[in-house]
Symmetry: C2
Subunit: 459 residues, 2 copies
């Protein structure tokens, strides 16, 4: 990558995103991006019918026309198979793809890239008729930027801010900016506009409120807007990330500017992204997998367990701690107790398990047996590694220790393409957004996305 | 006002905004709101042709249809006399009304209410056919909420964040929420959605970037969206302002929760709002007026002055300090030196003075003679009082001290209706957005707004 002596970190990152070519991306990263996209399509379809998502879709319909047929410049609202301007398609698809908590996650940045990258990138690619290679390149740019911004903002940021909402605006701007062929200077302006609109607070979790979907809708639409404005000459702060009145100054106390450019061009953070196996907040997965391991290895049944102590990182306590008595399916996905109860009961905390059973008496009873304690080793490894450690105390007094270093879905314990397909189909069926046959057709097309001359409609 | 023992501050504020009736508002506050609205119309029209504003308008046109005729449910884009959905009309009008730095300001909150309240309120009032009294009531709700949120977030917030952008989302939500007749519970949800989207960083000032207009556009559109969503059942955090992962936790170190409800129902913060006389950042006005006073009282001419020391509050240093060598008209409005030079040269730093002369050699030379120093008395009075204090050193060695306790436009030194009309007309003529005759017609209508059955189109 060409950089000059006077380049500063935001600028280096903007140049990278603007200049990234398909041929710069190793084949294994292209394959991984396809995996992530198919996985995202499942999540986006699973959001159909969710109250918060449908509400955002109704707002979109109030503010711009929604058509039943594609028209020049339109983009697809996946859950409704309808068409609107790219801003509103991105907004609705972003809300939809984050609601069932099955979308991907990057560990070190604690950031969910797919929902804020694929939503605006697909909308704009459809609207402008971009090729499959252009689309994939833009998405990698979005992932690389968003992940690095998340890492840069650090753990102090994530204590209060939903990084997917904040870093997500920049990720969306990078992906859309690359599709619009922004110059490096324009890309930096897009970052400035996206960063100065970046928002998203964790406070909603306490009330089981709908904000999580609003955060991704906001990130996708503001990032998209920032890129369009930059293309039109609209300027933004050059140092929006690291400047004295920029994002880190306002929203972080441990920002690390070196993270913005770490390994740019050689390290592809995209491939470090994890798939979610359980349909819950990622902070619950390591402990759930560790509990399952203990139960399998020791042939323990749920009714033999008296207590589960989960040894966790501080971030898990920050996000999950406020959820003490979950009232809704969505809130229960942020309850360590509910997730472990469902895992213990069904061997898996999936969408259907949450829907059918989160409030059952036996699940709620088990929920009360689960404790979180801060573990120095787990905390120190986090966020680069998400170690799962549990102590299980059986009713007969025996104690078992369980540990998982790579929860299911992490790069070192990833899903196969068959598992990804199965998950995506299950997600679409969950919401009746598509039939199995339709999903098999879509997925078959998507495995060939690199060869497509234009990104057409998916459904 | 009815409150219960279990009410918490955000809830009390939401109840107030939802329940406010026209008959609750003292007549003098109604008159002041009309004054502020006429003043805002001038600012909104003055934004016509500004590059950043037109860019946002083009984006709006790309994402939703813009018509030349009003249609059911449409709202007016003032600078173009065109019509779109209320979200985009609010977005464009908000961008337009903040660009020439002539829109109003509330001292204690360091917040510009008009641009983020009238823009969405007018758009929604037009779209739903609200009456003049409903419109005025909604605007007062928006002012009262936005100002209190700004005061609550405090000085530490304003060091990094553009309060008009952040508190502005809640102000917009309150105004639109009142127009949509949200219940108190829905209003609290609207606050939650607005607060979790609140954004706006000062970093752009250093680069003379276009973000200030984006901030008001963002506040107006996200606040509007939050109110529409709340009407549709979408929920938000109940403690978005004061909660442990809310706005103050993330974006302030000196938040004062008592400010949220101070004098609700008896104190009308709306009437504390100041008009801007000079067309520059308000932080420059006290010193400019003090300098003008010294020059008038001592018959000093600009070329007799060797040096001007302005004794200012820290907020002025934070916002104006980074602007050392202004490159654009907009940036020069944040240069204490340029503003004092124009005031010294023309007796007034108005739109035309900036456009024609900010980069002239004599203005730039005078600019270098101006210093800012922190003054403990001024700083302590701020933000409730914006005291202007200058020391002028003449070329003959004589030293003059000047002081103004109420800069022109402050409530104790306010503009008359004639001055407000004159200013609004001058603003519209500046951008060729309307003729003097058209403006006189519009203003005549607006002085009768209380009696209008529906808020129609202005132009």
């Amino acid at each position: 990558m060409m950089t000059t002596q006077t380049d500063f970190p935001s600028q280096t990152l903007a140049k990278y995103a603007a200049n990234l070519q398909f041929t710069d991306i190793p084949t294994r990263v292209v394959r991984k991006t396809e995996d992530l996209f198919v996985d995202w399509v499942g999540s986006a379809l699973a959001g159909k019918g969710a109250r918060a998502v449908e509400s955002i879709a109704r707002f979109a319909g109030n503010m711009a026309p929604i058509q039943q047929q594609a028209y020049p410049g339109s983009a697809e609202i996946l859950i409704h198979r309808s068409y609107s301007s790219p801003m509103f398609a991105a907004m609705v698809n972003a809300a939809a793809s984050h609601v069932v908590e099955q979308d991907d996650v990057h560990n070190a940045s604690v950031f969910h890239p797919a929902t804020v990258v694929f939503s605006p990138a697909l909308a704009v690619a459809q609207a402008i008729g971009a090729s499959g290679q252009e689309f994939l390149t833009a998405c990698v740019a979005g992932y690389e930027v968003g992940i690095r911004v998340g890492e840069f903002l650090g753990r102090s940021h994530y204590k209060i801010f939903h990084t997917t909402g904040t870093a997500g605006s920049l990720a969306a701007a990078a992906a859309v900016g690359r599709l619009l062929h922004l110059s490096p200077e324009q890309m930096l302006n897009a970052f400035g506009s996206a960063g100065t609109q970046a928002a998203g607070l964790w406070e909603f979790l306490r009330d089981a409120a709908d904000s999580k979907q609003l955060h991704t809708a906001h990130a996708a639409s503001t990032g998209l807007m920032s890129a369009y404005l930059a293309k039109d000459g609209f300027t933004g702060a050059k140092h929006i990330l690291e400047g004295p009145q920029g994002m880190a100054a306002g929203m972080s106390t441990d920002a690390d500017v070196s993270k913005l450019t770490e390994g740019l061009g050689t390290r592809f953070a995209t491939e470090e992204t994890s798939f979610k196996y359980h349909a819950s907040c990622r902070h619950t997965h390591p402990a759930a997998d560790a509990l399952l391991k203990v139960m399998q290895e020791n042939q323990l049944q749920i009714d033999q367990i008296a207590k589960v102590i989960t040894h966790v990182h501080q971030g898990a306590i920050d996000v999950l701690g406020p959820v003490v008595d979950p009232k809704t399916v969505h809130q229960s996905k942020f309850s360590m107790g509910t997730v472990l109860a469902l895992a213990a009961r069904f061997g898996y905390a999936g969408l259907n398990e949450f829907e059918s059973s989160f409030s059952n008496d036996d699940i709620q009873a088990f929920c009360q047996k689960v404790e979180m304690v801060l573990d120095p080793e787990v905390d120190q490894a986090y966020p680069r590694k998400w170690i799962g450690k549990v102590t299980v105390i059986a009713k007969d007094g025996k104690t078992y220790a369980g540990r998982v270093d790579d929860p299911k879905g992490d790069p070192d314990n990833t899903l196969t393409r068959l598992e990804i397909e199965t998950k995506a189909i299950r997600l679409a069926l969950f919401s009746n957004a598509a039939t199995e046959a339709e999903m098999r057709d879509v997925i078959e097309q998507l495995w060939k996305i690199e060869t497509l001359a234009t990104i057409g409609n998916l459904l």
